[in-house]
Symmetry: C2
Subunit: 218 residues, 2 copies
């Protein structure tokens, strides 16, 4: 499409680079198509033939980019996980009370779960993965869980969250959020931002140590 013929003053590596980029773009296109189809039909019902068909290619062409169906599944999951890792790092880097960090986490996680790759974090079954990849997924899930628990524990320590069982509270909050991946639809009446904001408030209202000063007493 926008691949321009190598001008005279361009590095001789341009074509290589351009080809590599084109390849990466195609790889990504496969993943976008695959994740959408996997979510639509479920991993087992979705066939590689149909993934290929939607891309106007044939099944064996996919094997130029991936080792097989399982690798595609895992890479979809990875793209979602990258997003989560990203914002968790950002929140950790920033400051704030445990409660503030928890709310940031809820908002960011909710918005990721409203995307296709985000939903794949909770809609895909680790048992469809190889043992190695499955271990990676389980470790990541544990890590997210611990992040929730840590922020809650931080909040209890700094007084922003009233004493509670961090484990159970984390389960309750993460459950609410994870479920978004199952019901959210982009073309629905609720935007991801509205949901994220609402959940950030509702899910922490019961935990906050001091009542958030009512914005509008009623």
């Amino acid at each position: 499409m926008d691949a321009q013929p190598p001008s005279s003053d361009t590095s001789p590596w341009m074509p290589f680079e351009s080809r590599r980029r084109a390849r990466d773009e195609k790889r990504e296109a496969v993943l976008r198509t695959a994740v959408a189809l996997f979510l639509e039909q479920g991993y087992h019902r979705a066939t590689l033939n149909e993934v290929a068909e939607r891309l106007n290619i044939t099944k064996p062409a996919l094997y130029n980019y991936f080792r097989g169906k399982e690798e595609i599944l895992f890479e979809c999951w990875s793209l979602g996980q990258e997003q989560v890792d990203g914002f968790i790092a950002a929140i950790n880097a920033g400051g704030g009370t445990g409660l503030a960090k928890l709310r940031k986490l809820i908002r960011a996680y909710a918005e990721v779960l409203a995307t296709d790759f985000g939903a794949s974090l909770v809609r895909f079954d680790p048992r469809d993965l190889t043992e190695t990849n499955s271990r990676t997924v389980r470790a990541a899930k544990r890590s997210i869980d611990h992040t929730f628990r840590n922020y809650i524990a931080d909040g209890i320590a700094d007084g922003s969250i009233k004493p509670c069982d961090p484990k159970l509270s984390a389960f309750a909050i993460a459950g609410s959020l994870n479920w978004i991946g199952h019901w959210f639809q982009r073309d629905g009446p609720l935007s991801a931002e509205v949901i994220a904001e609402n959940f950030a408030v509702q899910l922490t209202e019961g935990l906050a140590a001091k009542r958030t000063r009512k914005k509008k007493a009623r």
Copy 2:
């Protein structure tokens, strides 16, 4: 096993009855084995051969009790749904504020989701069912959702719950609960009762209009 030879003063229908009961017991045994296996391995990975093997029979024997794999899946789901329908009817029959009914619902729903048939309500994929059965499932899910929303709306109307969006609040609460079906394990450190009680409190604390008088100030 305990089928006793028909004594002289027994109704001539006894054998029939006894046989029918034996049959029902076997049917149920199939469902218990199947639901456990489906949850363990996932519907698609679980084979009827393995279900049969666990029952010390062979696959075709299953077809004496069910039309096929899909019917087994649907019946497992139905048994879970029956429980839900049961306690919802009970709560509706009883009285109480919207908040009180909501808490009863949370407790009961949490405990059902901690059972195998209960978990099947949220772990099985309706897309694996025939169109007819799938419609039944979707209708039941809508009904549960509406029950949550109605109790919340009732609570707002009677003043026990402070104004909020019943739709979003219902999603948040139901999400927390549904997730139980994904992580709860019977042999884990948390009992279903503890989880149910904790969730009933935590998930409604943010909604309650008046602070629940602290049982034990600490």
